[in-house]
Subunit: 166 residues, 2 copies
């Protein structure tokens, strides 16, 4: 039987953050971090605010801290493969993150063919336990299509980190 | 087409909080608050910490603030009716909250026949936007059964408050 904590339901999201190159002669030097996240929740209607918890050993944190922004992409059931693709350290080449096409828009890395994305400006962040929680106010919200979102009811989270720690 | 914010996935939980009677001659005077919540997320593995966002106009806040604890019960697909039952202001009588049986255990109100519950000690709370977010460390975790949790993929949230505000 699963643990009770595994009975809590989450969506699957790809978080991206973009740190602009210090040398602006070429935008190719922008640093982009991307990763699969589950621990995401809206926490306010007005203003519209989301929270996301990011593991402190992740390489996402530094990039979010620097840019003070993050973008959450909502995955559809068609992109189950992205969960693993973005669980690895990101490799950026030729307009692709880990082989998945993206565009730069308003200083953010936007992954193509998700249900849509919200870009959030960080209001506050806190280290709590083994994660950093970011509170971000939505500054851009784009719904691309009406596909079905994927969630842990379809695909259980692989709690490998948790298992390793216990 | 739905808004993107409605494509984020959440579980359905019943939050309870119990404020002990000032006059301890009778425990019948304990004040119990209960409500349906969705904006719940684990945010740390070790220690195990959950966050929950509660509307600031809710009657849950005062009771959580006073007791510095809250309990989250995970609803199964069998208890879809509890979503509405606990969306109303709570009525406590004869060992029942809104007609649903509960027990008192370690100073908490435990609703029967859910998948299970976690009781959390509040580490911190913050008013952000129109909600209060509580971070609670798990001090008790009970898995009752292995039933399927209900989530917004089964039953979309009725965003009535949001609609009223916009």
């Amino acid at each position: 039987m699963e643990k009770l904590a595994h009975k809590f339901t989450y969506g699957y999201y790809i978080l991206t953050a973009l740190k602009k190159a210090d040398n602006l002669k070429t935008r190719d030097k922008d640093y982009i971090a991307a990763g699969t996240v589950n621990w995401v929740s809206q926490i306010s209607f007005s203003p519209k605010i989301f929270s996301v918890a990011v593991a402190q050993q992740s390489d996402l944190n530094e990039t979010i801290d620097y840019s003070e922004r993050f973008t959450l992409h909502v995955l559809s059931t068609e992109h189950q493969d992205y969960i693993k693709t973005f669980a690895e350290k990101s490799t950026i080449e030729e307009g692709k993150i880990n082989g998945v096409p993206f565009n730069k828009k308003n200083g953010e890395a936007i992954i193509e063919n998700t249900i849509g994305h919200v870009t959030c400006k960080v209001l506050k962040s806190e280290n709590i336990g083994d994660h950093t929680i970011y509170f971000g106010e939505v500054i851009d919200e784009v719904l691309e299509n009406d596909k079905e979102p994927i969630c842990t009811a379809h695909i259980p989270i692989e709690y490998s980190k948790e298992k390793a720690e216990i």
